[in-house]
């Protein structure tokens, strides 16, 4: 279908565009920005006055619960929630059940996603078989099946030699390794940041060193092996300092942060509020400041939701045995926009964190498969009203998971239309 989106503020950081102009789409691709191509007659027009038009958002970490935890949710339900929040591409980690360490599981996930048709799902393959940290996964098979990277998800690879070989092998397959830095020995048994709050509440703590030691180890191995690596959802200021230093020294590493880490600290646990039970844990004010700084200065280039939808029972247990995770798809955009209001970033950079930068990390930007509005690239578009006030309430959330500490927050900014490959997936058809 030929679609024209008129009068919107088009922001496409990948191409340095930020102006009030029009966007023209047909055959699922971006045809032109500005003047319509000769002879282009739109079958459908969207009036985007007073709204922002940007590439569809790309979420670097979202758990869709399928296969394996369909009691919590499914790919269809969560991708629909994503679409309503302007997110057109989701990256799901391999800690599914069965584990995504073979092509059959990848096929299943991609098929379910495409049947539902709400969003693009990109799968990360396992780094080691069964995520056990012992034997290398068949990364070539995973790559051929469509995986855009490999990771050991939240499972540690404590054996340094295995980690080294896994990185070397991934490098030889030209695959990016996604790392979750947490030393299992120091983190063992912990459920909250080891600090004044955890001591007062008597919660087993996870020291900051669990993250910094793992980051330091992995940085050394990255340097040694030459693999392209990305650190996922870091939580401490000290770790960000190490990443920045490594980047300065020329190492090809990138990092992202989960949006909730930019707003909450361990103090928000209050009296055992399990909505604030997340992993890596919420740390101290100086870590929150360090993470914000990292985003502002560029050591952290992307922001993700770390979406983990849970059933109600998962959070209705004493804090240590409650399941960690926040249902974060629907707050990703407004909370990222709020960083602009709080002078952490300007609007262009904020949108880049959700579009151009994640696309670049995934290696899809240059291929025109997302993250930009370049002519000829896939027409994944998000149109949002930056001034729309709304309140997050469980009754109106589309995700199956209502587990969020942001419930009741006044939010500003909301997607009004989402296009996936040039098709309107979400939005009133005016």
């Amino acid at each position: 279908m030929r679609i024209s989106i008129l009068n919107g503020r088009v922001i496409d950081p990948a191409n340095g565009i930020d102006q009030k102009t029009d966007l023209h789409i047909s055959a699922g691709k971006v045809q032109a920005i500005g003047k319509a191509p000769d002879g282009f007659k739109a079958e459908h027009v969207i009036d985007a006055s007073n709204q922002v038009v940007c590439p569809g958002l790309i979420d670097l970490q979202a758990r869709l619960r399928e296969p394996g935890q369909e009691n919590k949710s499914t790919i269809a339900i969560e991708t629909r929630a994503a679409a309503s929040a302007g997110i057109t591409t989701l990256v799901c980690p391999p800690d599914t059940d069965p584990i995504t360490d073979n092509s059959a599981v990848v096929d299943l996930i991609l098929q379910r996603a495409s049947e539902a048709g709400y969003a693009r799902v990109l799968s990360l393959g396992a780094l080691t078989q069964g995520l056990e940290g012992k034997q290398l996964a068949e990364m070539n098979e995973l790559k051929k099946a469509g995986c855009i990277g490999v990771t050991n998800a939240d499972q540690p690879v404590s054996n340094t030699e295995v980690m080294r070989r896994a990185m070397e092998y991934a490098a030889s397959q030209d695959m990016t390794v996604f790392l979750h830095a947490e030393d299992p020995w120091l983190a063992k048994g912990g459920c909250a940041h080891e600090g004044a709050v955890s001591v007062r509440l008597g919660l087993p703590g996870i020291p900051e060193a669990a993250e910094t030691i793992a980051v330091a180890r992995d940085l050394q191995l990255i340097e040694q092996t030459g693999v392209r690596a990305h650190f996922c959802q870091l939580s401490s200021a000290r770790a960000i300092k190490k990443i920045a230093r490594a980047q300065f020294d020329g190492l090809p590493v990138s990092a992202d942060v989960a949006i909730h880490q930019l707003y909450l600290t361990d103090m928000d646990i209050g009296y055992f509020n399990s909505q604030c039970h997340v992993r890596p844990p919420l740390r101290e004010q100086r870590d929150k400041d360090g993470l914000r700084n990292g985003v502002a200065q560029g050591a952290i280039t992307a922001i993700c939701s770390d979406h983990q939808p849970h059933d109600a029972d998962a959070k209705l247990a004493p804090f240590p045995s409650s399941e960690p995770g926040i249902s974060g798809l629907e707050t990703l955009l407004p909370l990222t926009l709020r960083l602009v209001d709080e002078n952490v970033l300007d609007l262009n950079d904020a949108i880049a964190c959700l579009t151009q930068k994640p696309a670049s990390i995934l290696g899809i930007l240059e291929k025109g498969q997302g993250g930009s509005l370049s002519v000829g690239s896939v027409a994944d578009v998000c149109i949002f009203d930056p001034e729309l006030y709304w309140e997050l309430q469980p009754g109106t959330m589309l995700s199956n998971g209502h587990n969020s500490p942001f419930i009741g927050w006044q939010l500003k900014g909301r997607a009004t239309h989402t296009l996936l490959a040039g098709k309107i997936i979400f939005g009133n058809t005016n």
Binding site: E194, G195, A196, V199, R200, L201, G202, L203, P204, G205, G270, Y271, F272, N273, D313, L316, A317, P318, F319, P320, S321
Partner: protein, 325 residues
């Protein structure tokens, strides 16, 4: 935040007892004073008052305990309440029933109070957040977080012997890191305003952040005990050796065990306390545990009166006189 006043009702009266944190000095004093009035009950021929007659109290113990369970049961019975003991190890929890489901089922049997002991921090708070409005919750120990009635009976015992808190130097010796008793005692002693509060243990057993609470940290028993008025010994759990926190019981006893010799470093009239159960020869020598300065058994007796006070206060029947009306 609503949760902060979970323990108190709109009039600021105690509705639950979950933690010492957040209680005002006067509230603690009121509890101690009320407990004082119950001491005489245990000395009577008929050791009962009808204050909580017709009330049903459920002892919900997810963690093993003899001492605390027994004293709560005794306290409830001396108040003439009906007591129900739910033995969780054989209960439906093992069959996979969730904590809150169990709660709903018990509530359906119309009880008035839950006394809860659980291995996880925050369990009592969770239950208090989900009980029906007329039900009270008393925390009998949750994970490492709090054991408020223990701290209260310890304060009661100290007051009995020392009268005033202000001039006291109190030393808590042992595994502060894992101790809910220590945390509650620290809150109580700080709120009541003792002159100096000390913790004494190897570095592996004291959280780094404790110093920021204005507490003096010692890694040497001799220095830490000097001129102390009150010495509180904590039990050393055997698991600490497995967790690479301590090399051996022998070395612990050598360095931090309370012997007659070490006790001489404290004031001559210092009292020795222990929440129990004691590990003879590990944290404390028998001669001290059974010696003239030990008030360990008295703590147990005081525990009954303190628990009677807490139970009657949260259920709104704070005094013997009121109950006799």
């Amino acid at each position: 935040m609503k949760q902060q006043n979970l323990q108190l009702d709109e009039q600021g009266r105690l509705r639950h007892l979950l933690t010492i944190e957040g209680l005002k000095r006067q509230q603690i004093i009121d509890i101690l004073d009320t407990a004082e009035s119950f001491i005489s009950v245990s000395d009577q021929q008929v050791r009962k008052v009808p204050l909580l007659r017709g009330k049903t109290i459920v002892n919900l113990f997810f963690e093993a305990s003899t001492r605390t369970l027994t004293t709560f049961e005794l306290a409830a019975k001396r108040l003439s309440a009906d007591v129900l003991k739910v033995n969780v190890s054989t209960s439906s929890a093992v069959k996979g029933e969730s904590l809150l489901d169990m709660l709903r089922n018990l509530e359906a049997m119309q009880c008035d109070m839950f006394v809860v002991r659980h291995s996880e921090s925050g369990a009592a708070h969770l239950i208090a957040q989900h009980v029906a409005p007329h039900i009270s919750v008393i925390n009998a120990g949750d994970g490492r977080h709090a054991h408020p009635t223990q701290a209260l009976l310890d304060m009661f015992t100290i007051r009995k012997h020392k009268k005033e808190f202000a001039p006291l130097t109190v030393a808590i010796v042992g595994d502060i890191m894992h101790s809910r008793v220590a945390r509650s005692q620290i809150h109580a002693l700080t709120t009541l305003g003792v002159s100096e509060l000390r913790v004494i243990a190897p570095k592996t057993l004291i959280p780094r952040q404790v110093e920021k609470l204005g507490i003096h940290v010692y890694h040497d028993l001799d220095t830490g005990l000097r001129n102390a008025d009150v010495v509180i010994m904590l039990r050393l759990q055997k698991e600490r050796m497995q967790g690479a926190l301590l090399p051996s019981e022998q070395e612990y006893f050598q360095t931090f065990g309370l012997t007659k010799e070490k006790l001489k470093l404290a004031k001559p009239d210092a009292i020795v306390m222990h929440p129990g159960p004691i590990n003879r020869g590990v944290e404390i020598d028998s001669s001290v545990a059974d010696g003239p300065q030990s008030v360990i058994l008295e703590q147990v007796t005081n525990g009954i009166a303190v628990r009677m006070a807490v139970m009657s206060m949260v259920l709104g029947r704070p005094s013997v006189e009121e109950g006799n009306k």
